[in-house]
């Protein structure tokens, strides 16, 4: 056993030596970068990140690993990044909702908007409210009529508490004064499954996720939250033209890192993102997925975040929306 003691002493010594080692950021990135997606596969955040992953990874010269961490309407993934080392190796690939909406609707979140620094925003996914065909309504008016006559009978599925799909539906309910029960799912894909299977009556998300089912006739689009009618679906009315412009929230995707990340690290990521979004192949993949390229630098992203967060807070206060 004496030799064992010797070995463990050596280990301790080496440990002490190792403690003096400090990280160096000048050669960033020199290993794989994790992208934390706060929703399960196939939602807008996931789709967008998967589209840019290969190009972005080629530009940065290191692999990018996509990790889905769903839960708590995206809070779980957000918190995971907020708590991470600010070294640029853990990036939050999210929709706007985890930073602007849920932070206003959930009082006891473990993180705040200020825990994050922006790398940039890059894709927009326009929102749509859909229903399953075969129901007794085919248009927005018929749905509103039915819901008014049968309060509390309808249900809607959202991508989670505090997500854009939740907020869109709550604003929709308030606009028309309807009573529709909310069933939160962990992301767009499960919510879409639930409406396709008839477990809930309505679901809202971005066009990207729902368009294939709309085209195949499995879902009917009732109304969109886009600022103007969407070219691919010209027959779908907008909330704004129905007289509710304030009920138009859309999904946009951005990359964020923990707040204390060094500026030069963020800079490298931002430049790579900008270059990725200029790539023609990426742009065409975005378009084919049913979304729009919309790149904003960190400053513009920050501004958008703050103004949207403020607007959501006002709406929540005025309308009494809560999770």
């Amino acid at each position: 056993m004496r030799q064992m003691t010797l070995v463990s002493l050596i280990v301790l010594l080496l440990l002490a030596l190792g403690g003096s080692w400090a990280s160096d950021q000048s050669d960033y990135p020199n290993r794989e970068i994790e992208f934390i997606i706060p929703f399960p596969p196939a939602g807008p955040a996931d789709t967008a990140a998967r589209i840019i992953q290969p190009r972005l990874s080629a530009i940065l010269g290191v692999p990018i690993v996509l990790i889905n961490k769903p839960g708590g309407g995206g809070a779980l993934g957000a918190d995971f990044v907020a708590r991470g080392k600010p070294d640029g190796y853990r990036v939050f690939a999210t929709t706007n909702s985890t930073l602007t909406i849920i932070t206003a609707t959930q009082p006891d979140l473990p993180y705040q908007l200020n825990n994050f620094a922006s790398v940039g925003s890059y894709i927009v996914d326009l929102g749509v409210i859909t229903a399953r065909p075969g129901s007794s309504w085919k248009t927005l008016e018929q749905l509103v009529d039915y819901a008014k006559k049968n309060p509390g009978k309808l249900t809607y599925g959202s991508a989670g508490q505090g997500t854009v799909s939740f907020f869109t539906m709550e604003l929709f309910k308030l606009s028309y004064g309807l009573d529709i029960a909310h069933v939160p799912f962990q992301g767009t894909a499960p919510a879409k499954t639930a409406v396709l299977g008839g477990h809930v009556d309505l679901a809202s998300s971005g066009f990207a996720s729902l368009a294939p089912s709309i085209r195949a006739g499995q879902l009917i689009p009732l109304v969109t939250t886009a600022p103007k009618r969407v070219a691919a679906f010209p027959n779908v009315p907008t909330m704004a033209e129905k007289g509710f412009p304030e009920a138009s929230v859309n999904i946009w995707m951005g990359l964020f890192v923990p707040a204390k990340t060094p500026n030069e690290t963020i800079d490298k990521l931002t430049k790579a993102l900008e270059k990725t979004m200029q790539d023609a192949a990426v742009a065409s993949a975005v378009e084919k997925a049913g979304m729009l390229v919309d790149y904003r630098d960190p400053k513009a992203t920050r501004k958008l975040l703050e103004s949207e967060h403020e607007a959501v807070k006002q709406a929540v206060k005025k309308l009494g929306i809560r999770g």
Partner: protein
């Protein structure tokens, strides 16, 4: 089906083979299954991580080629995972944890060869079955999957749960306690619906919840090594004589039923959202033990306990392709990586995929058949080699096992606290074995916990607080009823038998 459709099907399949047998695709398929097997053999290192790391490599390939390779890694890992389970009682893949129970016992009795053989053959048969299943039934099955809403999922989970708990070895009460504890451990972390921290004691690591890989590697890997070390190596060593490398005729007879049932079960469960591959293999094990004429042999090296679950997890990989290919909904994370491969090539999987991109749809499906055949050819000669591994003294083997467990736990998220969690559960697992608590119900409950809670809460929101929703809906009602029957059976059957005996005795003069 009309005659014309049948013709179309044959043509489509032939067309698919013409795509998957192109040299590039054939090479991609081989590379995929080879990497998959390797990843599967290494404990803790999962196919998801590997697939996402290799994903950028496939970017330059065509959509079909990259999908063929990525899918190959996935089902290849299922073949490899069983090897580690059987040889050293450490699950190579999460889904192979069930294979440890009987596979390793077989190895200890000198029957590692037949165990590995039946795992490979069972996987091949199940994989083939799955591929044929996708070809014939993909669209109708997708609509069945859609009928599983929150109440149905909850009912199914409760049934699966009851099956495994009540079939656990030893005391039912202890099994129930472990099952509840497992569900409970699953609630650690942020609430799945509203994001409130639960039982985290302000620890940042716990916020994230306990990881599945550290938990499995701890309870089954580390605990096993600790027990072996303690018991002295003489006991840890195997019977030296190795009896045969391939399954005997009797083995085949015993395994035929389990392979067939495992394939069916795995395939159908695989289609359902969130099921993955681990739950089907557990349920298959439960079913085999339930219907076996000699359930006491389970846990002591019954070949049925290897054949069933191994078939089930392979069939489940095929089944899980269906929602992705026909609805555009990936039912698990692995399918999400495949979805990514579709998206970067500008292809939207969904109801229109078969029409718009037949070369992808049929090419990938037929490649799975080709890949399964390759895996069989690859794995059978390896059996001899693997069995030789058992001759390595445990004193040399166990440090390696521990090393792979540690790196496996670390590789999932690069957090050293995952290693600590694994070691802690290693100690817990060791103590559980000492006090005769079965870790299986705990693990299964942990796997099901989040889904069970979510579906329960969603169902209650759907019904606005009425528990009757579980009985009204025919599917969930049927599941819950079956669970109830399972619970009551052990109490009722002996009494009925006793009553019969009494009557018989009275009738006899």
């Amino acid at each position: 089906m009309k005659g014309g459709d049948k013709m179309d099907l044959v043509q489509s399949v032939l067309y698919g083979f013409s795509v998957s047998l192109e040299p590039t695709n054939l090479a991609a398929c081989f590379a995929g299954v080879l990497i998959g097997t390797l990843v599967g053999v290494l404990p803790g290192i999962g196919s998801v991580v590997t697939m996402s790391l290799l994903f950028p490599v496939t970017y330059t390939m065509s959509a079909t080629t990259s999908l063929i390779m990525l899918a190959g890694i996935y089902y290849g890992a299922m073949y490899g995972g069983s090897t580690t389970s059987i040889l050293v009682n450490v699950p190579g893949e999460a889904a192979s944890v069930v294979t440890c129970l009987d596979g390793h016992q077989m190895a200890r009795r000198g029957r590692a060869g037949p165990a590995l053989g039946i795992a490979a053959f069972g996987s091949f048969i199940a994989g083939t079955f799955g591929v044929v299943g996708i070809m014939l039934l993909a669209p109708p099955l997708a609509s069945i999957a859609l009928r599983f809403g929150p109440p149905e999922i909850f009912g199914l989970l409760i049934l699966g749960f009851t099956m495994v708990t009540f079939l656990a070895r030893g005391s039912k009460l202890k099994a129930a306690a472990m099952a509840i504890l497992g569900l409970f451990l699953g609630t650690v972390g942020l609430d799945p619906i509203v994001g409130t921290p639960r039982f985290t004691f302000r620890s940042v690591t716990l916020m994230d919840g306990l990881g599945l890989v550290p938990l499995i590697m701890g309870l089954f890997g580390v605990a096993e090594v600790l027990l072996n070390i303690e018991q002295g190596l003489q006991q840890g060593v195997f019977e030296t004589r190795i009896k045969g490398l391939l399954p005997t005729r009797q083995d085949w007879k015993d395994s035929a039923g389990p392979v067939a049932r495992g394939s069916l079960l795995g395939f159908f469960l695989g289609i359902l959202p969130g099921m993955g591959t681990i739950i089907p293999s557990f349920i298959s094990y439960g079913v085999e033990r339930r219907i076996s004429k000699h359930p006491e042999k389970f846990g002591a090296g019954a070949i049925e306990g290897v054949a069933g679950p191994e078939s089930a997890n392979n069939a489940a990989t095929a089944g899980s392709m269906i929602p992705l290919l026909t609805l555009g909904i990936p039912p698990n994370v692995v399918m999400a990586v495949l979805l990514g491969a579709f998206l970067v090539h500008g292809v939207q999987p969904g109801p229109l995929l078969m029409k718009e991109h037949p070369e992808i749809f049929w090419g990938v499906i037929t490649s799975m058949y080709v890949g399964n055949a390759m895996l069989l050819v690859l794995n059978l000669p390896l059996i001899g080699l693997w069995v030789q591994l058992l001759k390595v003294p445990y004193g040399i083997l166990f440090p390696l096992i521990l090393l792979f467990c540690v790196i496996g736990a670390y590789s999932v998220s690069g957090n050293i606290w995952d290693i600590i969690t694994m070691l802690a559960f290693g100690v817990v697992g060791y103590l559980m074995k000492k006090f005769q608590y079965d870790p299986v119900p705990l693990l299964l409950a942990f796997v099901l916990g989040r889904m069970a809670e979510e579906s329960l809460r969603q169902s209650l929101l759907l019904s606005r607080g009425s528990l009757m929703i579980f009985l009204w809906r025919p599917l969930s009602g049927a599941f819950l009823l079956s669970a109830l029957v399972l619970i009551l059976l052990p109490f009722v059957v002996p009494r009925v038998k006793a009553a019969f005996r009494m009557v018989n005795q009275r009738n006899q003069p």
